[in-house]
Amino acid sequence: MNRQMPGRGPARPDGHSGARSEAKAEEQRLETAVETDDGRMPPPAVPPSAQSGQLHPELGRTRPLLQRIMTGEALVAVLAIVLSLVAGGLLIALTDERVAAASSYFFARPSDTLGAAWSAASGAYAALFQGSVFNFEGDTFARMVYPLTQTLTVATPLICAGLGVALAFRAGLFNIGAQGQIIIGAMFAAWVGFAWHLPAGLHLLLVILAGVAGGALWGGLVGLLKARTGAHEVILTIMLNYVAIYLVGYLLTTPAFQRPGSTNPISPQLDATALYPRLFGDAFRLHWGFVVAVLATVFVWWLLNRSTVGFELRAVGANPEAARTAGISVTKGYVVVMLMAGALAGLAGVAQVSGTERVLTSGVAASFGFDAITVALLGRSTPWGTFAAGLLFGAFRAGGVTMQTNTGTSIDIVLVVQSLIVLFIAAPPLIRAIFRLPEPGQVRRSRAARKNSPAATGGAA
């Protein structure tokens, strides 16, 4: 779905084109054919524009700015977010008690219902914004920007784990296992954090390394099994998530992981030397883990776009057969990418135990591992896209808590909005159809095109 690919096929003089629909259908076919190797492979998780490295800064500057904006991925992304927020708002309004009360006399005074609906949805979203970006009711500057730092704090594990998922996607692997990798990473990091007593600096370094190693172990295991036996990574990662949950659950029943004299499934506090220092003092929870996440993003960007390892991984992901023929070991690629994906998720585990939680519990990963998948998908598996998506979802999460406390709107709505965003972004033609945008590369789109796209309707064959 590379909207910015200049020209396809041999250049031919553009005659009058009588059949836009055919042209469009063919263009779509060609696009998908490029993506799927003429139907021999499933469509990738990564748009082809992202599969090629960024070795060509000149690419994409050939078309007028306005047209690029109108047909670009950025606009689709923005509209997808808007659409999802609207859908979420409707859901909030529909389930609101005042709206329900007002709707009982809807036909007498419809404005009451609509007003209540509006205030329910806007109230919830205002609280969401207030809790994630800027608290306009705060009396000090610190209170005002506190939500933003909360967003960054929550975004930290999302970004780290999202990068792991994205990296695996780029090598053609569906890493559903970030959850397990976070847990094992957190488990290793926490143990080094509370069981070892070392000088400041060294201790934190070892905690980070332990977390990275733990995540890498759990991820690498998947890569190894996939490479050696051909087992499907989706199944392996899902199963290892459960194994990780029960493993940490078991360890928390053993004295080695429990607080002295307690049988609660909760570990001792990590040593102060094992914690990420606060970034802006004790008034904010934001810690140095965020800086680590930024560094991780830079690293993944470099890895994918400027390193030989990234070249290999991208080749393995885009066309494993060609990669093999070019002397790139596909099996090694699987192991390497899953090691790194696990390591990044492990970093998210470190952010949890050394940054925010400071103890190990069986719920240490919350649902960050699953959210990381949507973060990576939303970020189209590019490092900075994932970073931005991590910030957005971090804002949803941080703001969702405020929303739930202030307006009583359940935080689950965040999941709905998040998943809708990813769904819509994955299907640009749908967004274009809803907002009647021009097709990429075409001045005007034809309604007739719809009829030619496959399977417009269901029904028995």
Binding site: M41, T229, L423, A426, P454
Partner: protein, 428 residues
């Protein structure tokens, strides 16, 4: 089915066949494990297996097994089976399926005797263990049948979890509002179809990667049901979240047969529907026009298209049908198992169903037995934690997942999925 025999014969006949040592190695490791744990580590106790409830019409005597005897016998037999598999591979043959089956039976027998014998109360109701396994397997079976329908026609269905969960939710809500469990059942089927519809539209019409759609759909359903649960359902549980249960309908006389009677003939509508669904989908897939077309569309859609089969329409309708199946499976949670909806109550069963589908080699009957295996492992965990065993509870809970990893990595490995599964069909 003839595929496999033909392939096996061909492989067996070929000179200098490529030898795969994976299976023998795994069998050998397991056999040694059995020797160390079941035989050398056998408890002195006897393990008692009760075959029927004292209140049953026909009462069978208890089965009392000496743990050391069974441990040694099974260990020796397992070692022998492993040796046979080594010999088979050395001779350039594949390890025969019956050997694997025998191995599995003795391993399970040895394990059961050891674990029950080591328990604080070395006495277990075998009939309950089995019946419970089937009960736990019901949603898994529906889920994997949903997967069979989708994947056989070329659409990967990761959204089984979402279909089950939405089915459970719809069954609870509709059942509560209508005060009728059967309305709930119907609503569950519709809810499954709704999830399927989104899957079909996005993966077939908009050609979005099917795994992505599936994963995201699961999140969407989880969020949506969670949101409605915490707002609507919790606010007024009596109205929204107290569905009546589906009645158990025992078949007279047959239900009294020891051990298998309750499994086959003392079920709710959902339970009976499960057996029907397995049979109907199996026969339909392999012996009807619809099945031939479905499989063709999943293997070589272009060939089907050139013969006038409407590929995407076929896929679309099969995905919707899969929604019906999985939706009914979801109803099990709220109409049979417990009679209220809970947040994320399917707890990953959809993913296990996916594993059962692969373990069962994309065959309805295979998926049925694979799901039973998972049901058995899960139920064993419950029963054993009740009996008080030396194995920590968490490890027992891991069992189904570890079995799955072993299954997909070791014994199944590179099985042949429908060739076009996951690949969209674009005409031209």
């Amino acid at each position: 089915m003839s595929t496999m025999t033909a392939k096996a014969a061909e492989t067996a006949g070929a000179a200098g066949a490529v030898r795969s040592w994976k299976t023998p190695v795994i069998l050998a490791v397991l056999a040694v494990l059995a020797l160390v744990v079941f035989a050398l580590g056998a408890p002195v106790n006897a393990a008692t297996f009760r075959l029927s409830d004292p209140s049953d019409a026909v009462v069978l005597p208890d089965l009392v097994l000496s743990a050391p005897v069974v441990g040694w016998v099974s260990a020796v037999l397992l070692l022998a089976a492993a040796a046979l598999s080594v010999q088979a591979v050395r001779a350039g043959r594949q390890v025969p399926g019956w050997l694997l089956a025998v191995f599995a039976v003795f391993f399970v027998a040895g394990f059961l005797t050891w674990v029950v014998g080591s328990a604080r109360t070395p006495n277990v109701a075998l009939y309950g263990l089995l019946a419970g396994s089937v009960t736990l397997a019901v949603p898994l079976i529906f889920g994997s049948l949903s997967g069979v329908l989708c994947e056989r026609s070329g659409v990967v269905n990761i959204a089984i979890e979402g279909q089950l969960l939405f089915g459970a939710f719809a069954a609870a809500v509709a059942g509560s509002l209508a005060r009728n469990a059967f309305v709930g059942l119907l609503a569950a089927a519709l809810a499954g179809v709704l999830v399927s519809l989104v899957l079909a539209v996005f993966s077939i019409k908009y050609i979005v990667n099917q795994v992505i759609v599936g994963v995201v759909l699961n999140v969407l359903v989880s969020g949506l049901t969670g949101f409605l649960f915490s707002t609507v359902l919790s606010a007024d549980a009596a109205t929204w979240n107290s569905p009546p249960r589906l009645p158990v309908l025992p078949v007279p006389f047959l239900a009294e047969i020891p051990v298998i009677g309750p499994i086959l003939f003392r079920q709710t509508v959902v339970g009976y529907l499960m057996y029907v669904a397995v049979a109907v989908i199996y026969v339909g897939l392999f012996y009807t026009k619809w099945g031939l077309r479905t499989r063709a569309v999943g293997e070589h859609p272009k060939a089907a298209d050139t013969l006038g089969v409407k590929v995407n329409r076929m896929r679309f309708s099969n995905v919707l049908l899969a929604g019906v199946v999985a939706g009914i499976g979801g109803a099990f949670f709220t109409l049979v198992s417990v009679s209220s909806f809970g947040r994320d109550m399917t707890a990953g069963q959809g993913y296990i169903a996916l594993a059962a589908l692969i373990f069962g080699r994309w065959n309805p009957v295979g998926a049925f037995f694979a799901a039973l295996l998972f049901g058995f492992a899960t139920n064993l965990q419950y029963v054993l934690s009740f009996l008080g065993t030396p194995v920590p509870n968490q490890f027992l809970a891991m069992l189904p997942y570890l079995v799955t990893i072993f299954a997909v990595a070791g014994l199944v490995g590179r099985t042949r999925a429908p060739a076009a599964s996951g690949i969209p069909y674009i005409k031209g």
